[in-house]
């Protein structure tokens, strides 16, 4: 895959969080990732794996106090990490947008949602006041908010969680961006609403032809929506593969654990958990494999040599010295 084809390409991205009087904590470790135009890439990992940090770092806004210390983010022939604040402003939402979790906390509590949508159209699409409002209304309709005329005047606290999520999706899709990041967009919603929202989001993204990085903790969701699936563990991609290959022949021990957990299969889960490691952490991250201390298959070399993300079969990359063989 080369830079010209990809909608967005992350190269050797490293994000660190300073630690008072110690070595900084690495949240995203020299990560490479590229996403094709129109592709939906699922990114799965447990909390603290660096999913949100990665998502925000792509927009050059790592969550404070995190800092991007190295890397390149190729988009549209430019490196987003080397653009001025003003240039970034014109790309955010306009070309790369983000669907955030917990949207009721993310929307400005004192501004009616219609106005928040309309201001996006005014700022990024140069619309005048009335056509911006018309567009906002149209977007509320597109995300299937009931009674959109009335909701235009509603304040965020007057919306349900599901409706607020739809508003955030409307904002993310408003400018038909080429790239959408969905960061755990449905975490706070109940299951039926979750399914509707995801259906809507992927439907609209496909309709617009936007590529999407779909971040979630729920590996099951990715089976429905994603063209490719990646697993992230402690800031590193452990496995990345086209959907069929990923689910039919998972290769990484951590992926197996995630799948076992998703299937609620205790035997399988036990088989893929290190016998005496409930949640041990590799004290010397960066030298050996990050997963060694939880890995039931770990051997001597796993502690000393960091495995590369290697292509095992076509398009199926695994970061493991001893990946599972196809059965």
């Amino acid at each position: 895959m080369n830079a010209v084809d990809a909608a967005l390409m992350v190269e050797r991205l490293r994000v660190e969080f300073p630690v008072l009087g110690g070595k900084p904590k690495v949240a995203v470790r020299d990560l490479d990732l590229s996403i094709l135009p129109g592709e939906i890439l699922g990114l799965v990992g447990e909390s603290g794996a660096g999913k949100t940090t990665l998502a925000r770092a792509i927009l050059n806004l790592p969550p404070p106090p995190g800092r991007i210390v190295a890397g390149v983010i190729q988009f549209d022939g430019k490196d987003l990490l080397r653009l001025s604040e003003r240039e970034l402003q014109s790309i955010r939402v306009r070309n790369i947008s983000m669907v955030v979790p917990n949207p009721r906390g993310e929307l400005n509590p004192l501004v009616p949602v219609g106005e928040q949508l309309a201001s996006i159209a005014r700022v990024h699409l140069g619309k005048d006041k009335s056509s911006a409002r018309a567009m906002a209304l149209e977007m509320l309709r597109a995300v299937q908010i009931p009674d959109p005329e009335r909701r235009m005047r509603a304040y965020p606290h007057e919306l349900s969680g599901g409706m607020a999520q739809r508003v955030v999706i409307a904002i993310a899709l408003m400018c038909s961006p080429r790239f959408i990041i969905s960061d755990d967009a449905t975490s706070g919603l109940d299951v039926t609403v979750q399914a509707q929202i995801l259906e809507l989001l992927s439907h609209l993204a496909r309709k617009q032809g936007s590529a999407m990085l779909f971040i979630t903790r729920d590996i099951g969701i990715t089976a429905h929506f994603c063209d490719r699936v990646a697993v992230i563990y402690r800031g590193e991609i452990m496995e990345i593969a086209p959907r069929e290959s990923f689910f039919l022949s998972p290769r990484h021990p951590y992926t197996m654990l995630l799948l076992a957990a998703f299937l609620h299969n205790p035997q399988l889960r036990q088989a893929w958990t290190h016998p005496d490691a409930s949640l041990r952490v590799n004290p010397d991250a960066g030298i050996g494999c990050a997963y060694t201390y939880r890995c039931p298959r770990a051997r001597e070399m796993c502690h000393t040599i960091r495995p590369p993300l290697a292509e095992r079969t076509s398009g199926h990359f695994v970061r493991c010295h001893f990946p599972l063989e196809r059965e």
Binding site: L61, V100, G105, N108, P109, L110, H157
Partner: protein, 336 residues
Amino acid sequence: MRLILYIGRRLLFIVPQLLGIVLVGFLLVKSIPGDPAVLMLGPTATPDAIASLHTKLGLDRSLPVQFWIYIRNLAHGDLGTSWQTTRPVLEDLVQRFPATLELVSLGLVLAVLIGVPLGLASAFNESSWLARIANFYGLGAGSLPDFWLALVLIFIFYTTLQWVPAPLGRIDLSLVPPPPVTGMLTVDSLLAGDWSAFRSAVGHLILPALTLGLINAGPILKMTQSSMEKMLQSDFSRYEVLCGMPHRLVVRHALRNALPSIVTIISVLYGFLIGGAVLVEIVFSWGGAGQYAVQGVLNSDLYPVLGFVLFSAIFSLFVYLVVDLIYFAIDPRISH
């Protein structure tokens, strides 16, 4: 409609609130040691004379009875008589309260004009030179005593530069004060079209008001800075940045969210300064209500103190009502 109901309910509660405040004030003043009869008659008074004055003043009755009598008189608009000025307290306060109000209001306006912009500037950019000045200023304003600053200002602007009239009272003694309408000399002189009186009143007002302004800009600055910083780091501000909104717009939205806490600190200062400006009043011989009340406390003069408590309580309740209405206008969440 909901607003009118709300205001009505608030006004309804004002009477019991005031009664409570007067009761507490009454008990506190009564608990101050000192016998007004002894102070009034002087050191040579006989016990008989003191006893008869006690009866005359009603001091021989029980505390609840005394309080009941005070409340009954209050209902008829009688706030009692000050034995020091030998005038009805209501008359004294009507004259002096506007003087304090005028001073404190202008002082607070100056404090807002200094504190809010500096606070905003330092919240935008923590490393700018303006932010450093603001930090230094916030420290200084919090630690300087107001009467000392008043004396420094007098030294600079009166003694040395001679830009302002002598710090004695509210207007030149040689001038005839304008006929009282509001009791505030600047306003009254404008209403009367008396320019020389207006100039003199402003000249007298500017230094004490500046003193209050410079001192009280400190807390306003700190509050503006901290609530603005909090809002700029909040999820919704970060989301607006994420959405590529221009800095200007993000700041304006954050300011709207920070406004309630800024308004709160201003209103608290306003109520506090009615009595809290007393040292500045003394330095400038202002003859305001705070000075009047302190004299009352020092001389066991009960009624001026209670009258002052009542006046400032009414004023504070009014300020808080206005503040609640401002919240109403700013934040749609409150009206639900």
